[in-house]
C-alpha cells in the first residue's frame, strides 16, 4: 500500500497542470434579468460588456485569478449599426478606478505571459519530487502552455475593424498595476468611424464589481 502512495500523489499533482478551455459564454443568452451584462447604445454602435473580475468567473473561463495574475478581463461585444466601418481602439480604452486612476489594456502576448507566469506548478514539483517529476511535469507544461495560448487566442477580442452590420466579440484584458482589492467604476471603450476624424468614447458604468482575491 505504501508503495502506491508516491505515484498516486504524483499523479494527483500532475493533473493540476492541465488547462481545460471553457466554452465561450454567449452574451445574448446571459442578457436576462440576473445577468451582469452592461449595454450602451448610441446612434451608430452598440457596446455590450460583461466583467469577469471575480476569481470564480475568471478562473472558470480563463484559468486565472485576476488579482494574483494582475489581469482584469472583460467580455466585450461591439455591434456596428452605422453606415461605414468602425475601428475599435483598444490601446486607448481603459478601466476607471476611482476618480483619477486608469488601467490600460494589455496586449494578448502580455496577458498570456502573465497567465502562464502565475502558474508555478513545475517549480513546485521539482522541489517536491526531484528530476523525474521535473521532466514529466515539463512535458505536461508544454501541452498546457499550448492549450492555454490557443484558447486565449480564440477568446481574445480581435477585430480592430468592424464592418457595417458586423459584430466583434471577445475578451479584453486590462492591466492591474498592483495586487490589491479595489473597485472599478467604469470601462471606457474608444471607437472611431473610418470615414470620420473624431474618436468616440463609450463609457460603461460598472455598479457592483469589486476586484478581490476571493
Amino acid at each position: 500500500m505504501q508503495q502506491l502512495i508516491g505515484p498516486v500523489v504524483f499523479l494527483l499533482l500532475a493533473g493540476c497542470a492541465s488547462y481545460e478551455p471553457a466554452k465561450h459564454p454567449d452574451l445574448k443568452a446571459s442578457s436576462g434579468a440576473d445577468s451582469n451584462e452592461i449595454v450602451v447604445t448610441t446612434d451608430f454602435i452598440e457596446v455590450h460588456l460583461v466583467p469577469l473580475f471575480g476569481a470564480k468567473q475568471a478562473g472558470a473561463y480563463l484559468g486565472i485569478n485576476p488579482v494574483r495574475s494582475k489581469i482584469m478581463p472583460i467580455i466585450l461585444r461591439v455591434v456596428n449599426t452605422s453606415d461605414g466601418p468602425v475601428r475599435v481602439e483598444l490601446q486607448d480604452s481603459f478601466l476607471q478606478i476611482g476618480t483619477d486612476e486608469r488601467w490600460r489594456t494589455l496586449s494578448l502576448t502580455e496577458a498570456i505571459d502573465r497567465a502562464l507566469r502565475s502558474d508555478a506548478h513545475v517549480v513546485g514539483w521539482t522541489i517536491a519530487f526531484g528530476m523525474p517529476a521535473w521532466l514529466i511535469a515539463a512535458d505536461q507544461a508544454t501541452a498546457t502552455n499550448q492549450t492555454l495560448e490557443q484558447d486565449y487566442h480564440t477568446k481574445y477580442f480581435k477585430p480592430t475593424l468592424i464592418n457595417v452590420g458586423g459584430t466583434g466579440q471577445g475578451v479584453v484584458f486590462f492591466d492591474v498595476p498592483q495586487k490589491r482589492e479595489t473597485r472599478v467604476s467604469s470601462a471606457t471603450i474608444r471607437l472611431r468611424k473610418l470615414n470620420g476624424d473624431q474618436p468616440i468614447e463609450v463609457r460603461l458604468a460598472i455598479e457592483e464589481d469589486v476586484l478581490s482575491e476571493k
Partner: protein, 205 residues
C-alpha cells in the same frame, strides 16, 4: 579526485555547447512566400477589376526592429536569436495579397488607374518558440492586420481585421518550424479574405 569531479559537470556543458554551437545573434530569412492556390473569380475577371495596393502601415511594437519578425531559440542553451527577414512585414503582407488577387484575375494597377485601393495596417507579424530546454518544443506564429477597401475618391467602403494564430506540432527542436509556421499563418489570412463573399461584394459596388 574531488576537484576533477567538481570540474566534470561544467566541462561536459562546455563540450556540449561547443559541439552544438552557442547560437548566433541573428538568423536571416531570404523569402516568405505563402503557397496560394486560388482559382480565377468571375467577380474579378468579367469586370476587369482594377485594384491598387497601397503601402501598408504598422502599429507593431516600436521596440521591434523593422525587419525582425521573430525570435528563435538556438544552440544547446536555447539562446534567443533574432529572425531577420529581407523585407518588412508590411511589404510581405502586401506582396502576398498582390499574388492572391492576381490569381483571382484582378488587374493590379497604379492608384490613378484603379477602381479600388486596398491598404491597411499590420499589427502583429511574429514567430517565436516555446522552448525550455527540457521538454518538447513548438513554434508559434501570429499574423494580424487590418485590410480596407477604398473607392477611387478615397471613401472607405469595407474594412476587416484578418488574423491567424498558428502553431507547429511538438518536437525536440522547433527552430526549423519557425518560418513554415509563420508562412502558414500569412497564407491563411490571404486565402480567407479572397474566399470571403463580403470582400467581393464590397469590390462590386
Amino acid at each position: 579526485m574531488r576537484v576533477a569531479s567538481v570540474l566534470a559537470f561544467p566541462a561536459c556543458l562546455a563540450v556540449m555547447a561547443l559541439a552544438s554551437g552557442c547560437g548566433s545573434s541573428t538568423m536571416a530569412v531570404d523569402a516568405i512566400t505563402p503557397s496560394l492556390t486560388l482559382q480565377p473569380d468571375a467577380r474579378a475577371t468579367t469586370r476587369g477589376l482594377k485594384v491598387a495596393i497601397e503601402e501598408f502601415t504598422t502599429t507593431r511594437d516600436k521596440n521591434k526592429k523593422t525587419l525582425v519578425i521573430g525570435e528563435a531559440k538556438t544552440g544547446f542553451f536555447n539562446f534567443p536569436t533574432d529572425i531577420v527577414a529581407s523585407e518588412s512585414p508590411e511589404h510581405l503582407v502586401a506582396s502576398a495579397l498582390r499574388e492572391g488577387l492576381t490569381q483571382t484575375g484582378c488587374q493590379i494597377v497604379d492608384l490613378k488607374d484603379a477602381d479600388f485601393a486596398l491598404g491597411g495596417q499590420v499589427q502583429d507579424f511574429w514567430v517565436s518558440e516555446y522552448a525550455t530546454g527540457v521538454s518538447l518544443e513548438y513554434a508559434k506564429a501570429y499574423v494580424r492586420y487590418d485590410l480596407t477597401i477604398k473607392r477611387a475618391e478615397g471613401n472607405t467602403v469595407w474594412g476587416n481585421t484578418l488574423e491567424r494564430y498558428e502553431t507547429s506540432g511538438q518536437c525536440w527542436d522547433a527552430t526549423a518550424e519557425d518560418i513554415p509556421t509563420l508562412t502558414r499563418a500569412l497564407q491563411h489570412t490571404v486565402m480567407s479574405v479572397l474566399q470571403d463573399d463580403a470582400f467581393w461584394n464590397a469590390l462590386s459596388k
